[in-house]
C-alpha cells in the first residue's frame, strides 16, 4: 500500500489492482501530468519562436520557425532584464536569510518552557493568524509611515515572517531538542544567543531547510509587493517586469487592431512576443530545476502545517 516501496510479501502482490485498471490509472495520471507540464512547454516554445512566425501563425507548441532571437536580444541589450534578475536574486537571498533568522529565533524563544513572557509572545504570534489590518492600512503604514515606498525593503520586510512558519519552528524545536541539552549548556554558562547559534541551529538543519525553501520560493515568485510599492522601474524584479510586459505589449496590440495601423510598424524593432515569454522562462527555469530536489523538505513542511494549522 505504501507508495515507493517494493512488494515485500505475497499478500501485497495478491492485493493489487488488476492490470487493466493499473493501465487505466497510468493513462489518467499521464494525461494529468502532461496537463501540468505542457502549458510551461508552450511558453518555452513561444520564447523560441521567431517573431515573424508568431505574427503570422500565432502561438504554438510546435513552432514552424525556431529562433533564439529573444534570448540573444536579452543577452545583448536587456539591461532591464539583467537588472531585474539582480533585484530578484538579491531580494530572494536577503529575504530568505532575514526571514530564517527572524522565524527561528522567535520559534526558539517560544519553545523554551520556562520563559516568563512566553504567554505574551504566543499571543503576538497567534493574533495575526486570525485577524489582520487588511490591505489598505498596511499599504499606508508601509508606504507613508515606514517609508518603504520605492525601496527594495518593501519587497523584503513585509514577507519575512509568517506565524505559520514560526509555529512549525517552535513545534520542531520542542519535539527534537531535549531540554537537558539546553539546560546543561545554561549551567555551563552559555548565554541564550550562544545556545541558539551554536547548539540549536546546527542540529535543526531540516527545519531550516524547510523554512528557507518556503521563503525562497515565496520571494522569488512575489509580484504583489512590487505592484503595490514599486514605481521606479530600476527596482523591478523579474516578476514585476513580466507583469508590466504582459500589459504593455498587450496594449500595443489592442491599439493596433482597433486603430487599423499596421501591426508590423508597432512591433517592428524588437522580438516583443518571444522576449516576453523568454522572461517568463528565466523565472520558471530555476524553480523547475530546483523543486524536484527540494520537494521532500516542502512536503514535510506542508504536512506539519496541515496537521498543526
Amino acid at each position: 500500500m505504501k507508495t515507493g516501496t517494493g512488494y515485500e510479501t505475497g499478500l501485497d502482490k495478491f492485493n493489487r489492482i488488476g492490470a487493466v485498471t493499473n493501465w487505466g490509472f497510468h493513462l489518467i495520471f499521464i494525461l494529468l501530468a502532461l496537463l501540468c507540464l505542457i502549458p510551461v512547454l508552450v511558453v518555452l516554445s513561444i520564447s523560441l519562436t521567431g517573431e515573424e512566425s508568431i505574427r503570422n501563425d500565432g502561438y504554438s507548441l510546435f513552432p514552424k520557425a525556431f529562433s533564439g532571437e529573444a534570448y540573444q536580444y536579452i543577452a545583448r541589450q536587456g539591461q532591464m532584464i539583467t537588472r531585474a534578475l539582480g533585484v530578484s536574486v538579491l531580494v530572494t537571498a536577503v529575504g530568505t536569510v532575514l526571514g530564517v533568522v527572524l522565524t527561528t529565533s522567535m520559534g526558539y524563544v517560544l519553545s523554551r518552557p520556562n520563559y516568563k513572557l512566553k504567554g505574551l509572545l504566543t499571543w503576538i504570534v497567534f493574533i495575526p493568524m486570525v485577524f489582520n489590518g487588511g490591505l489598505v492600512s498596511s499599504y499606508y503604514i508601509n508606504s507613508n509611515m515606514l517609508g518603504l515606498k520605492d525601496t527594495v525593503w518593501a519587497l523584503i520586510l513585509p514577507l519575512a515572517v509568517s506565524s505559520f512558519n514560526v509555529i512549525i519552528c517552535k513545534t520542531f524545536f520542542r519535539s527534537t531538542i531535549p531540554d537537558a541539552l539546553i539546560e546543561s549548556a545554561e549551567i555551563d554558562g552559555a548565554g541564550q544567543l550562544r545556545i541558539y547559534c551554536s547548539i540549536v541551529l546546527p542540529i535543526s538543519l531540516p527545519v531550516l531547510a524547510t523554512i528557507g525553501l518556503f521563503l525562497c520560493f515565496a520571494y522569488w515568485n512575489d509580484w504583489f509587493q512590487s505592484m503595490l510599492y514599486i514605481d521606479n522601474q530600476n527596482l523591478y524584479s523579474l516578476q514585476a517586469l513580466l507583469n508590466s510586459l504582459m500589459s504593455n505589449v498587450d496594449a500595443l496590440a489592442r491599439n493596433a487592431s482597433s486603430m487599423g495601423i499596421s501591426y508590423a510598424e508597432l512591433v517592428a524593432t524588437m522580438p516583443k512576443e518571444s522576449a516576453r515569454m523568454a522572461v517568463a522562462i528565466v523565472i520558471v527555469v530555476p524553480v523547475a530545476i530546483a523543486y524536484p530536489f527540494f520537494q521532500k523538505y516542502f512536503i514535510s513542511g506542508l504536512t506539519i502545517g496541515a496537521v498543526k494549522g
Binding site: 500500500m1 505504501k2 507508495t3 515507493g4 516501496t5 495478491f14 492485493n15 493489487r16 489492482i17 490509472f25 495520471f29 501530468a33 501540468c36 507540464l37 502549458p39 510551461v40 511558453v43 513561444i46 501563425d57 500565432g58 502561438y59 533568522v101 527572524l102 529565533s105 522567535m106 520556562n114 516568563k116 513572557l117 503576538i124 497567534f126 495575526p128 486570525v130 489590518g133 487588511g134 490591505l135 489598505v136 492600512s137 498596511s138 508601509n142 507613508n144 509611515m145 515606514l146 520586510l157 513585509p158 515572517v161 514560526v166 512575489d222 509580484w223 504583489f224 504582459m246 517568463a280 523565472i283 524553480v287 523547475a288 520537494q295 506542508l302 504536512t303 496541515a306 496537521v307 494549522g309
Partner: protein
C-alpha cells in the same frame, strides 16, 4: 499540565535567561508590531474621512470621524454584493473540488503497481504550485489570446469562429475554477498522500484475508482513516472563506473590465479601490473582510477543537 507548579514558576523571579530570550525575540517582536499590529489599529480609517496627503499618523488622528458613512457608500454600490457573492461562491466550489479531486487522485496514485511512476507523476503535478500567478497569466494568455492564442487557432482550424475570450464573462467561472484546481492539485495530493502512507498496512492485510475487494478497502479502511484530515482541511478552508487568492482573480483574467462581474472578489475590489484612491470605500471593504474573516476563522477553530482538540490553533 501541572497548574500548581506552573503557578509557582510564574512567581519565581526574573532570570538572566529571560532577559536574553527577550532580546533574542525582540527583532521578530518589532516586526510583528510594525507589520501586523500597527495595521490593525490602522483599521479605524474605515470610520474616518481619510485623506492620502501627508503623514499617515497625523492624518489618522486629525481626519474627521464619519461613522458608518464609508460602509453606506460601499453597500449602496452594487459592487459590494456582486463581489461578496463571487468570493463566497467561488470559495465554496474551490473547497469541494479542492478536497474531492486530490483525495480521489491520492487514492488512485497509491494503487499504481509501480511506485516509481507514481513519484514521477506526483512531481510533475506539483509543478504548477511553484509557478507565480504572473507566469500563469502568461500561460493562460498564450492559450486564450484572441488573435494568436492556441485555442482560437484550434477553433478556426475546425472552421469555427474565434472567440474573444477576455470579453466573454460566461466562460470565466469554468476557467477560474479550472486554474485553481490545476494549481492546487500537487499540494492537495501531498497532504492526503501523507495520510494514506501513514496508515498501518495490517488493516489491509486483515481485510484481504477476509476477502475485501480493492474498492471495499478504499471505502471501509482508507476513507474512514482519512476522515479526520479531510474534515480538518475542510474546516480550515471554510475559515478562510472571505479570503481569496488575489493572483488568481487579478492576474488570470488580466484585469479585464468585461469580466468584472464574474472575476472580482473582495481582495481584488479592495485593491482596485485603493488604486483608484477611493480610500474610504477601500478601507470599508478591507474592514468588512478582516472582521468577517476573523469571525469565520474563530468559528472554524472552535469547530476544530470539538472535532480534534490537538489540531486546534489555540
Amino acid at each position: 499540565m501541572d497548574t500548581k507548579s506552573g503557578r509557582k514558576r510564574l512567581r519565581t523571579r526574573w532570570r538572566t535567561q529571560d532577559t536574553e530570550l527577550t532580546l533574542l525575540a525582540l527583532p521578530t517582536t518589532v516586526w510583528y508590531i510594525l507589520f501586523c499590529f500597527l495595521p490593525m489599529f490602522g483599521l479605524v480609517i474605515a470610520f474616518k474621512d481619510f485623506k492620502i496627503h501627508g503623514g499617515f499618523l497625523s492624518n489618522v488622528i486629525n481626519s474627521e470621524w464619519t461613522g458608518f458613512k464609508n460602509f453606506e457608500f460601499l453597500f449602496k454600490s452594487n459592487d459590494a454584493w456582486v463581489v461578496i457573492r463571487n468570493t463566497l461562491g467561488y470559495n465554496m466550489i474551490f473547497i469541494v473540488l479542492g478536497i474531492a479531486i486530490p483525495v480521489i487522485l491520492a487514492l488512485m496514485i497509491g494503487q499504481l503497481h509501480s511506485g516509481k511512476a507514481g513519484k514521477i507523476y506526483q512531481t510533475m503535478m506539483f509543478l504548477p504550485y511553484f509557478l507565480s500567478w504572473v507566469v500563469v497569466s502568461a500561460i493562460v494568455w498564450s492559450f486564450l489570446s484572441f488573435d494568436k492564442g492556441i485555442v482560437n487557432q484550434f477553433l478556426t482550424g475546425l472552421g469555427a469562429d474565434p472567440v474573444n475570450w477576455y470579453m466573454e464573462p460566461k466562460y470565466w467561472p469554468y476557467f477560474l475554477i479550472f486554474m485553481n484546481v490545476w494549481k492546487g492539485l500537487g499540494y492537495g495530493m501531498v497532504v492526503y498522500l501523507a495520510t494514506i502512507t501513514g496508515i498501518d498496512s495490517t488493516y489491509y492485510e486483515a481485510a484481504v484475508i477476509d476477502g475485501a475487494s480493492k474498492w471495499q478497502q478504499a471505502r471501509f479502511i482508507t476513507l474512514p482513516l482519512m476522515k479526520l484530515v479531510i474534515v480538518m482541511m475542510f474546516i480550515l478552508a471554510v475559515g478562510r472563506i472571505f479570503y481569496t487568492d488575489f493572483g488568481l482573480f487579478f492576474q488570470v483574467p488580466r484585469d479585464s473590465n468585461s469580466l468584472f462581474t464574474v472575476a472580482t472578489t473582495i481582495d481584488v475590489l479592495v485593491y482596485k479601490q485603493l488604486k483608484t484612491a477611493t480610500v474610504g470605500m477601500a478601507s470599508a471593504s478591507a474592514f468588512v473582510q478582516s472582521v468577517m474573516g476573523c469571525l469565520t476563522i474563530l468559528l472554524a477553530n472552535w469547530v476544530v477543537r470539538r472535532v480534534d482538540p490537538d489540531s486546534a490553533m489555540m
